[in-house]
Every structure is written in C-alpha cells, then in structure tokens.
C-alpha cells in the first residue's frame, strides 16, 4: 500500500487533470461576471445559452473524440472539416434530392464517412505515407467534392426527422412538462453514476497500491462536478429539456472513455503511439490499428457533418471550414501528447468545452472575431506550454 502523500504533492502529480477542470470553471465564472457587470447585464448561464453551448459545439466534441485516437496513434487528420462538409452534403442530397427517410440516410452517410476514412487510412497505415500529407490532400479533395456535389448551391431544407438530429430534444415521458421530468431523472442518474464510478475507482486504486487521491480533493472535485451537472440539468429542464445532441455526446464520450481505458484494442493504440516498434515486436498489428483509427475518424466526421447540416438546415459548400483545427486544438488543450501515446477522452471533452464556452462568451460580450481568434490561439499555446513545462520540471 502506497503511503499517503500530502495534498500539494498529489495536486502536483495530477495538476493537468484537475487543472483542466479548474480552468473550465474559472472561464465560466469569468464570463458570468463580465456579462453581469456590463451596462446591460446578461445572465451567461441562462438555459438557452447552456443548450446552445452543446448544440453549437457538439460537432467539435465528436470530431475531437476521433481526433484523440488518431493523435494518440501518432498521426493527424487535417481532412475532417472537408469530410464533414462532404458527408453533410451527401446526407442532404440523399434526403432532399433522392428523398430517402432519415433512418436510412443517417447509417448510409456514416458508411460513406467510414469509406473515406478507410481510403485515407489505407495510404497512411499500409503505405506509410505521412498522415499530414494524405489528409492535407483529403482536405482539398473533399472540399472540392463538396462543391461539385452541391453544384455551388445550398441544399435544404430538411424534413423534421433529420433536423431532430441536432435541433431535437428528448421527449418528456413523465408528462410533467416544465420542469422537464425525464431530463431531471436522467441527470439524477448521471450524478449517481458519477459517484458510484468515483468510489469504485477509489477502491480499486487502494487495492492496486496506486497512491489514493486525498479524501478532501476527491470530495471537492466530485461535488463540483455533481453540482455543475445538477445546475446544468436544472437549467436545461427549465428550457426544453436535454437536447438530442447532448445525449449523443454523453453516450459517445462514455463509450470512447471506456474503449480507451478498458479495452485491449484501446490499450494497443496507446502502445502503438508510445513506441510503435516495441508494440510491433510485441505482436501488435500496428498498421491495422492505424487504419481503424482513420476509419473511426471518418465515421465520426460523417456524424459531425450531419449534425452541423441538420442544425443549419442546409448543406453548404463552405460548411466545416476550420473544424479540423478546432478538433486538434481541443485535443491538445485536453492534454494529449504531440508525439502520440497519451491523452484522455475526458480531457479532450473538457478541452472542447473550454473552446466552446470561450466562443460563446466572447460573442455575447461582443468581442470581434479578430480578437476571438487571437485569444483562442493564445489559450492553445498557453495550455501546451503548461504541459511541456510540467513535463520538464
């Protein structure tokens, strides 16, 4: 059993994970205050804003989930913005021009995304063409393909079923109406789950001789998260309930967190990124794993593309520009290593949320797009400098 170290020492060794959370809370607090003290006070944390943070940034989180795997494997995917635009256009074309129902369009588009990922992954994994090059080419190719498919015009609007993908909210099966009953139930379950998983992990740490988190910190952290979740849930329930996108995000985040930490394949991706040669000599088929990471990225890009298209209610040739950069920035703000082999799903989601909160906060404050870009760039730089500094210390 490891001896109990002090709070300070523990914080030092887990600075990154807790620091991310603190940063997110601090940024939210900062904007809340800034918006309160301006001439016409605005409540930053009003239900509509909270809903919008998830609606407007859902695609970034989804892309970042896939991007984390690609980056952990030691690669990069610059094409996701164009692929999202192209798959969005495909979905729009299938829905509007061909007239297929959404329950056929959605899986079909995901398959298209998977195929695109497979083609790019094939060159990267089996031909060892640098992923930067392959996906840079993909970025141009699929941007062009999007324009071609759309003929330079927007396609839309969509029937309700397809729109519900991004604009829909979960139905209130309890019939309470407002506050939204089912939302409250789901949030309550989520909080319960959070504590259950927390205690289980804690018990396991103790058993494995991993130095346990100081009790105060454990409670503090979990209460903050639970409080935030409860607050968000209550606010959402006051509005229209849980957005569908948020359900998709929560489920995907849970799946990917489990996949990266608890499955053989997930573990092998980290091993491949940590030392490809050693992984290969340990019997791991590294090329196949890289291929799968890209296929996965393609599928998620298609999902993100459809959500964005559904939200805008039209597929446009300019959709998805810069998505890849938002996703990559989220992954690095979230603490992934540039050389591969490390990075956590939870970190990436928080990273994406930090970007999202900043986007929204600055927009409401009326800060120009020019300053917004500068500030976002600096945040990315500071986060990574912080990482490198910590590592060298």
């Amino acid at each position: 059993m490891a001896e109990q170290k002090g709070l300070g020492a523990h914080l030092g060794s887990h600075l990154r994970e807790n620091g991310m959370l603190v940063a997110l809370v601090a940024i939210v607090a900062l904007f809340s205050i800034l918006l309160q003290v301006q001439p016409q006070p605005v409540n930053f944390l009003q239900p509509q804003n909270i809903t919008n943070i998830f609606l407007q940034n859902g695609h970034v989180i989804i892309l970042a989930l896939g991007m984390l795997l690609v980056i952990v494997a030691g690669h990069i995917d610059l094409s996701v913005g164009s692929v999202a635009a192209f798959t969005g256009a495909v979905a729009a074309w299938l829905t509007v021009k061909v007239g297929l129902p959404f329950y056929i369009v959605i899986p079909l588009t995901l398959v298209v995304g998977g195929i695109i990922g497979a083609v790019q992954g094939y060159w990267v994994a089996f031909w060892r063409i640098p992923s930067f090059i392959v996906t840079l080419a993909g970025m141009m190719v699929f941007r062009g393909a999007t324009m071609w498919l759309l003929g330079g015009q927007n396609i839309g609007p969509f029937p309700k079923g397809f729109q519900a993908l991004s604009n829909g909210f979960i139905p209130d099966l309890t019939g309470i109406g407002r506050p939204h009953g089912l939302t409250l139930i789901v949030i309550a379950i989520a909080i319960g789950l959070q504590f259950w998983l927390g205690f289980r992990a804690r018990a396991r740490d103790a058993e494995f001789g991993i130095e346990p988190e100081p009790t105060g910190l454990f409670w503090g952290r979990n209460l903050i998260i639970a409080g935030a979740t409860a607050f968000v849930g209550w606010q959402l329930a006051q509005f229209r309930g849980l957005p569908n996108v948020m359900v998709v995000l929560a489920v995907l985040t849970a799946i990917y967190a489990f996949f990266t930490e608890n499955t053989v394949t997930g573990r092998r991706i980290y091993a491949l990124g940590g030392n490809e040669k050693a992984a290969k000599l340990s019997g791991i088929r590294t090329d196949r794993l890289v291929f799968l990471c890209f296929v996965n990225m393609g599928v998620l890009a298609a999902l993100a593309g459809m959500i964005v298209t559904a939200r805008l209610n039209s597929a446009t040739p300019k959709a998805g520009v810069g998505f890849e950069l938002d996703a990559i920035a989220s992954v690095f703000i979230g603490g992934a290593s540039m050389t591969g082999g490390s990075g956590k799903i939870v970190g990436v989601v928080i990273g994406a949320l930090i970007m999202g909160v900043m986007n929204m906060g600055m927009s409401i404050l009326g800060i120009g797009i020019d300053y917004q870009q500068v500030i976002k760039g600096l945040v990315l730089l500071v986060a990574v400098i912080f990482d490198v500094y910590n590592k060298n210390k």
């Binding site: 040669k277 050693a278 000599l281 082999g341």
Partner: protein, 517 residues
C-alpha cells in the same frame, strides 16, 4: 616527472531527493589514462558532467584544480576552451551530414561566417589519419558503422585541441575488433600527450589501457589504484562492495529433448537487393538448455533471431522451424508467440519498452488477452500479474505504476523479460540480455535465466561478451557473415577457440576472393 593536470576535491552534488555525489576526490596526472569504474548510478557520469561544465560552477560543492588554476566552468563551451572534451555514451553526430561537417560542427573552419571548404577538407583528412580512418571527408556519417562513428567523435575532439579527453563508455556499442582499435588509438593518443579519462564497465579493457583506476561507489570515491595493483577481483569487490566469488550463478544443467530445431534458414536484406544476410543457418535448443550464439557485430545473430521471430527482419525468408518436432508457424509475431517463441531484444529502449508507460502496462503488452475477457481489460488481474513478476524478479520500484523510463537499466531489462515470460514461451531468445547494466544486475539476470532453464524452457543467448557466454551456456554456436560456423560444447569452448573459428573463416573468405580475382 609527472605533473598533476586535474584535481577534483570533495565534489558533492545533490539532485532533488538524491545525493548523487558525496565528497568525491579524483586526481589525474598529465599524460595518463585514468579509468573510472563503478556500478550504474554510482555517480561516474555525474562527476564527468561536473568536470565538463554541464553542471556549472556553483551548482556543486568542492573545488576543481586544472592545469595549475582553479576551474570554474560556467558552460560546456568554457571547459572546451580549456581543452576538456567529453565524448558521451550516445554519440553526438549528425547522421545526415558529412564527416567534415560533423568534425567542425560549432567549430567551423570559417572566416566571417563563410566556410573555407578546401581548408576544412584538408584538416579533415589529417584528423582522420590520426584516428586511423581513410574515409573521404564528404562521406555521410550515418553510412559509417558505430565503430567508425566513435573514431569520428575522437577526431572531432582532436579538432578542438584536446588536452583532457573524457570517454564515457566508449566501447559499450562496439564489437570486439572495433573496441581493440579504439583502445589502440587511446594508447597512441597517450603517447602524443593527451590525458584521458575512460569510464567503462569492461574490466579487461580497463586493465589493458589504464594507468590508474578510481572506483566510485554510491557517490563516493572508494579507492584509487595503480596499474600494478589492478586485478579484476579487486575492482569488482570495490565496485559492488562485496566479494563476488562467482560472477555466474551455479547451475545444474540437465538438457531434455529437442524443443526448437531450425534448419536451412535463409534471409535476404530488407532493402539491399541481392544481399543475403543469413545463409543456410541451423541450430537446435533442448529443454532446460542455455545455448549461446557468439559472433561479431554484423555476423547476423540479431537478424537470425528477428527473422525467426515473426519475420520481424528481412525478406524472402526460407527454412524450417520445428517446435517439439512439429513444423511451427512463425510468419508473424503473434503466430511465433503462439508457437511458443519469445524474443527479448538487444535494444530495450527502442524495441522493448514503452518508456512513458508504467511497468504494469509494459508487462502485459505482449499478452493482453491473458488479462482480459472478451476484449475488456481486467485491471485487477493485470496488476496482480505485474506484482507477481515484480516479486519474482525483484524489480526495484516503489510501485508497478511507476513509468519504466524512471527505472535503472537492469530493472528495465527485467520488465522486458517479464513481458515475455507472461506469454509463457517454451523457447526464449535473449539478445544481449546484460548490455549496459551493472555487475549486480547482471548476476540477477543470470539467475533468472538459470531458473527459466530449470523450469524446462529452452534459452538462446546472444551476446558480444564472450566470458558471459562461456560462463552461462551449455553449448555455443559461432556465427560469422550470416553462417553458423560450428558448435562448441561447454567443455570445448574457450574465447580463443571462438575467435579462431571466426578468424579462420574470414581468412578463407579472403583466399577465395583472391582466387576469384
């Protein structure tokens, strides 16, 4: 007549939580070769970093007197100006640049920032001649062997008017004959008046070139002895602080039936078309047997092992491998592992470990299905496995959650071994299992090998250190130029006979070439 060139007095250096040096004294006479011995982590390299200015004046305690004056280096550049030049274990050459470019890197033959190439080439040729090389100055350094690269490093030091040359384990990566060349060069430089400090694990080399030896243990000077006092036993005793009556653990050898039989094994070079790396090689391993493969670097030992282990090296591989008398499929690493093979690489940092991951993850890497159900990891079982191997192999670490990058070389090697033992192999191929680890850890690795043999596993041991092969193996195969020249039993084998086989083979080959011409 001798004059003291360097005197380090009461040197102390503390890192956070570690007292790396504690009152070390070192006196080096002008014109001598002074050897520094000590186990890994004893503080040799730290001491040399203090001397060469890597740790600037003020960050350590004690005094350094050099050439009659107090030495207070603020940087490596400072010490280089005074003629103190250190050649690190990891070579600091730029592989894609030419010899000439490397020799004068940071010290270019230039006027006003413009390089005078004709002059640089001329000087390069002179320097190369001094170290016994005849390469063209424009040759890319990366295309030279490690032995020649080491000589280039020395030439680079000579280009800077070296007075005190420090060599940190210069022969660690070198083959027997390259090592000999390097040692000869050291003696030659000594004759020219260059004072040298050599850090080495190889006691036979030290006794060959050194005039005096200082032994360091746990950050303090233990003893300094003159040439006539030097004996291997005494050095070892001072290094480890105890008598090592037996450098190799006792073992009762009791070989059973044949486990692995390889025959007619041919391998071609993966890139160079038409170059055959392994030619019609064959060997057998029995249950409970330790079989050695001796040979010079480049003789194809590693290539033979890696081509056998899942075709990890080479192309167009032909030949048969029988496990327990039945043909074994070794066409991929996974299949080779399933067939009961394991290969412990010679390069544990590059090919063996994921340095930034903890011990537990490295231990289970080659057999993740063994700690999972339906693709989902059982972390409890995984930790139990890692703990089991930590105990069985005495891996020194506070926890199996420790990143392997923080372990010493010997403990890292144990983690690589643990990884492969967890695949339950019948035959283990160990490639240079004791490279770069200290005497105490070597003994532990030997003991583990003996235990494995006693459990009925077959062990193939590839090593460049002949005494180690002679001390450990039941039989030794001798390889040269991709062929297995012969097989010597424990009784027949001696360093002389092994070398004789290789040299005779090289001689015959030259004769044949002569006839062909």
């Amino acid at each position: 007549m001798t004059r003291t060139l360097l005197e380090m007095r009461g040197i102390g250096k503390t890192f956070p939580g570690v007292r790396a040096l504690d009152r070390v004294n070192l006196t080096v006479e002008e014109g001598e070769i002074h050897a520094i011995c000590g186990e890994n982590g004893a503080g040799k390299s730290t001491l040399m970093k203090v001397l060469s200015g890597v740790y600037p004046h003020g960050s350590y305690e004690g005094e350094i007197h050099y050439d009659g004056a107090v030495l207070e280096n603020r940087s490596i550049r400072d010490s280089e100006h005074k003629g103190i030049i250190i050649i690190h274990q990891e070579l600091a050459l730029v592989p894609l640049l030419s010899i000439a470019e490397n020799l004068f890197l940071g010290n270019e033959v230039a006027q006003g920032g413009v390089i005078n190439w004709p002059k640089a080439f001329k000087q390069t040729e002179q320097l190369l001649k001094k170290v016994g090389l005849s390469e063209v100055p424009t040759t890319q350094v990366g295309k030279l062997g490690v032995g020649k690269q080491q000589l280039i490093e020395i030439a680079k030091a000579l280009a800077k008017d070296v007075r005190l040359l420090i060599l940190d384990e210069p022969t660690a990566a070198l083959q027997e004959n390259d090592s000999q060349k390097l040692l000869d060069l050291m003696l030659e430089l000594k004759a020219q008046g260059v004072t040298q400090i050599i850090i080495s694990h190889k006691l036979n080399e030290i006794s060959r070139v050194a005039d005096r030896i200082t032994v360091i243990r746990d950050g303090s000077t233990v003893s300094t002895m003159d040439k006539h006092e030097i004996t291997e036993d005494r050095i070892i005793r001072d290094m480890v602080g105890r008598d090592m009556a037996h450098r190799y653990p006792d073992r009762v050898s009791n070989p059973g039936e044949v486990l692995l039989e390889v025959s007619g094994w041919n391998v071609w070079h993966p890139e160079q078309v038409g170059r055959q790396v392994i030619k019609d090689a064959g060997f057998t391993v029995r249950k409970g047997e330790i079989v050695g493969i001796a040979g010079l670097m480049g003789s194809g030992r590693t290539e033979l092992a890696m081509s056998l282990f899942g075709r990890s090296y080479g192309r167009d591989i032909t030949g048969t491998a029988l496990m327990n008398g039945k043909p074994a499929d070794t066409s991929s690493v996974t299949r080779a592992v399933d067939a009961g093979l394991a290969y412990v690489t010679e390069d544990r940092k590059v090919l063996g470990l994921i340095l930034e991951e903890p011990i537990v993850r490295n231990t289970t890497l080659a057999n993740l299905p063994g700690v999972s159900n339906g693709g989902v990891l059982d972390k409890r079982r995984e930790t139990e496995v890692a703990e089991r191997y930590r105990k069985a192999m005495a891996i020194r670490t506070p926890s199996v959650q420790q990143k392997v990058v923080n372990l010493s070389g010997g403990n890292q090697q144990k983690v690589v071994l643990a990884k492969w033992l967890f695949t339950e192999p019948e035959v283990l191929i160990l490639d240079e299992p004791t490279r770069g680890i200290d005497v105490g850890a070597k003994f532990e690795i030997y003991t583990i090998m003996n235990d494995l043999a006693a459990q009925g596993r077959g062990i193939v041991m590839i090593s460049s250190e002949m005494p180690e092969l002679l001390g450990m193996c039941d039989r030794i195969y001798v390889m040269n130029e991709g062929r297995i020249l012969g097989e010597l039993s424990k009784e027949e084998a001696s360093q002389e006979r092994i070398m004789a086989l290789i040299i005779r083979d090289n001689g015959q080959k030259k004769d044949n070439e002569g006839e062909a011409a």
